[in-house]
Amino acid sequence: MLNYLYARCITAIIVIFGVSTLVFLLIHIVPGDPVEVMLGETAQLADREALRTALGLHLPLYQQWLNFMSQLFTLDPGTSIYSKREISSLLAERIPPTALLACASIITAISIALPLGIMAAVYRGSRWDIGAMTLSMFGISIPNFWMGPLLIMVFSLWLGWFPVSGNEGFASLILPAFTLGTALAALLSRMVRASLLEILNEDYIRAARARGLSQLAVILRHALPNAALPIITVLGMQFGALLAGAVITETIFSWPGVGQLTIEAIQKRDYPVVQACVLLISLTYVTVNLLTDLAYAFLDPRVRLEK
């Protein structure tokens, strides 16, 4: 068990190292001179050289990579070229809204997926099952950059229930959370259904029924806890898709989070900010995946007790 934990953590560290290097290479190997792109072709030579020195681009590549890695270790991502602000303070501003949005989407997704998946599994093959799975197929197939505008059109513009964009209180959270949560809800409900179906055939479920437990008690006390592991795994694996979806959802709703910052930085060619944002999102994803694996090992006695 401990061996597994060590091996998993070491892999995660190597992957983090590789991810950082890839982000570094991304910025430096992509054709085109970033200085020229940032300043435009008409810029003065002196200005170009000044920016080049300020960014450390005059150094040899390996030196730049070492600088980049040392920045990473000291958790100092540098300053934005565009706004001249410390990137760490920019991120500190932007992380809480994104975290809030991600949590709200996960809660939305779970509260849609659990009833839907349970219903589909319990009434397998019935109209309820077909309906729930059709709904989930729709959810998987609707891209969030269409879902968002549709929700805005119906609930903000026509019905006037929620604000169109921005981050002002609870009401402005609902539409973005729903937009981001739909795809996850769709995938989760299929997973809930599949893992419940497997478990409902087990002997202990039959035993629980034979003892005269109600349908609800059988599902909630005996089936669901045992179906939880694959569901948690899917949740962890889908977290990356959720973060990437946040980039688009935040752009649609002008939600002031990391995703919107990423797109703004890409549009303004603010390379240090792009680098920091992509790195932050990827590292969050790697960490969540590691935690999911560890949680899996911790929650499942079969994995935990294995020598």
Partner: protein, 268 residues
Amino acid sequence: MNRYLSFPVIVLSAWCLLALSATLLSLRPDEIILQKILALPEWQAWLGYDDLGRPIADRMIMGARTSLLVAFSVVFISFVVGTIIGVFAAWFGGWWDKISVLIIDIFIAFPGILLAIALAGLLGPGIMNAVIALSIVGWVGFARLARAQTLTIKHREHVTAARALGTRTSRMVFRHLLPLIMAPLIVEATFAIAGTVIAEASLSFLGLGVQPPDASWGSMIREGTRYMLVAPHMVLAPGVAIFLVVLSINLLGDRLRDKMDVRLNNGK
């Protein structure tokens, strides 16, 4: 053909036919009619006009062309590159395998579309760069699957027998390995096409894909979001198209997976 399949087959045939015959249809996707700006659907233009007075139906067909072109090129490149890397990693094993697995793990650590967004942003907007960005992200899924499949087949008796007979590596791969691992790869490719249609539209929605005046369903939605109150058809038409195409591919993929009876986790 059973009833379950007829809907996706109709939608996907329409998608391919319209996209491939776009040049023959004498469309005018860039023609601007100033009197018709934001006009609602009518007899001559059954999907209405956009904010510049261009017919949306014609632009939709050009958008179909864009999404078909990007989706098939990206999936083709990813399929070939990923399968080669995956098969060879598993076949040769050792360090070659370790390094391939590490690279695959690193790429998987990025939420795919995020890496594509960053790459497309850095390479500069444009359809060619979108294809490059999406292919750089796309090969990983195929490589991982091809490697896993090859590992399960590598030690089968027919492979050992072929090896004992002194079969060359290339013949071994093409005659004894690839045919056996093709089914799951094709299922993966089906879902990858759905994923790429959405990814291309996402890039274009963010302004990183197709550049004006060329049409993409994603950029059409983006343009439409500014006029949702007066011209909802601008957002509805391309959205319905993406939804129908992606839904059909997903239905087809599910069906294909059941038929070929391969178990794999559906994408990322």
